[in-house]
Amino acid sequence: MNNLDPRTKLIIVLVLSSLGIIYSNVAILLFLLIVATVTATICKSNLKSVVFKIRKLIYTLILIALFQSLLTNKGNPIITIGSVNLLTDYGILRSLEFILRMGIIIVSAAIITTSSSREIIQGLIQWKVPYEIAFMVSIAIRFLPILRDEMTDMLIALQLRGIDFKKIKMKEKINIYKYILVPITTNSIMKAKELAAAMEMRGFRAYQSRTSYMVLKMGIRDYLVIASSIAFGIFFITFQKVYTL
């Protein structure tokens, strides 16, 4: 399944994440997360590696959920301090919804990672997305890891100049990050300028039409998966409406 056309995978992701955003019911969201996980596993997505890569984001998500739960006043109180409801059952449900929704988006997005960025861009181009926009997306995807490496290298270089991050105060730490963010932003702008010059030199946008070395072709399996995904989405929404009525 991981050799499906990237456009097919995009539709699967679109259907699953849209359903995840439409519904605010813990049971439905849990069901959608299971469907997304099963689909990602069938598509041979490396879910372990995705979770590892976003491990720091997971802590932030849990923290947001915790705050959301603490700051929701509705529902039956579970923990109260004086007249303030610190934790309510409604608050817990809302934070659970948030975590499940984010889980659906992350897991379904993992499906698309089984295609290379070049294939995804080609898919967008063949969907008649303007080449400039598709190319911008591809550059952004390619530049993110470079930016991350640059930031890591600068932090390492700073520490290797004898600055012990564990020993310095928070105020000084913020000062250091301020020092790093300025050159990283400037370097990125300079790199973008250099890239733009290199692209112009190679005749980018010199002609109105372009030919592409890579041409994607959808097979019967792709059409079947797209049809099943859309049918699943429509069925799910209809079934939910009937069930709610």
Partner: protein
């Protein structure tokens, strides 16, 4: 043991396209302080990886590295950086300040050195490495040779006990290589040891007390 860098039976591998690539397998080496050791070998033989392992940037999967008696596994990057000065293969990645002058003095001020003292030292470095014309420039706009000289000047600001230089002569013209040679000679006279990754045979011949050639492919 207190004046040596001891690399004891280290192993290191990484994953490339789901395949494990072994770079070092129980590799051992002793580097003496006060001695200039050159590391050569074809591209991908693990020269830069070895320097990064010594600096604690990457960790060996097994074995130990002791810097003048202290195990790197028990040290922070900050502690290692106070003992060893490291110039990256791509020096632009270690330039983070908005001007050449700030690049030189910034970490010292964090370590409690007075600004006057740091500026005085920076002036010496600026003169020594011929960076006077660009002292107020943004490091990104410097030429590659200037960036390399600035990176070296920056690490020397902290008076390291040992130096690791990854291809220091790249992008330097003959005149600047001579300046670098003089600096290295004066450091050697102060008994500061060095590990230098280089492919420049003349440079190796004129400074090398010891030459190590790494073999194998990554």
């Amino acid at each position: 043991m207190k004046d040596k860098i001891i690399i004891d039976k280290i192993s290191f591998s990484y994953i490339n396209h789901n395949k494990e690539v072994k770079v070092f397998d129980k590799f051992s080496l002793i580097l003496n302080n006060g001695e200039v050791t050159f590391l050569t070998g074809k591209n991908g033989s693990g020269k830069t990886t070895l320097t990064k392992l010594i600096m604690g940037i990457i960790k060996p999967t097994s074995g130990s590295i002791k810097l003048f008696g202290s195990d790197t596994s028990d040290m922070t990057l900050g502690q290692i950086g106070q003992i060893i000065g490291y110039v990256f293969q791509y020096p632009e990645r270690q330039l983070f300040a908005p001007s050449v002058m700030e690049q030189l003095i910034f970490p010292l001020t964090f370590k409690g050195v007075s600004k006057e003292e740091a500026v005085e030292k920076a002036e010496e470095m600026i003169k020594l490495f011929q960076l006077t014309k660009v002292r107020n420039s943004y490091p990104y706009f410097l030429s590659y040779g200037e960036k390399r000289r600035l990176a070296l000047a920056s690490v020397l600001m902290s008076n390291p006990k040992y130096l690791i230089l990854d291809e220091p002569t790249t992008s330097l013209d003959k005149e600047r290589i001579l300046v670098l040679s003089e600096v290295l000679n004066s450091l050697k006279a102060k008994k500061i040891g060095m590990l230098i990754v280089s492919h420049n045979n003349d440079f190796i011949k004129s400074h090398g007390d010891r030459i190590i050639e790494l073999g194998g492919d990554l």
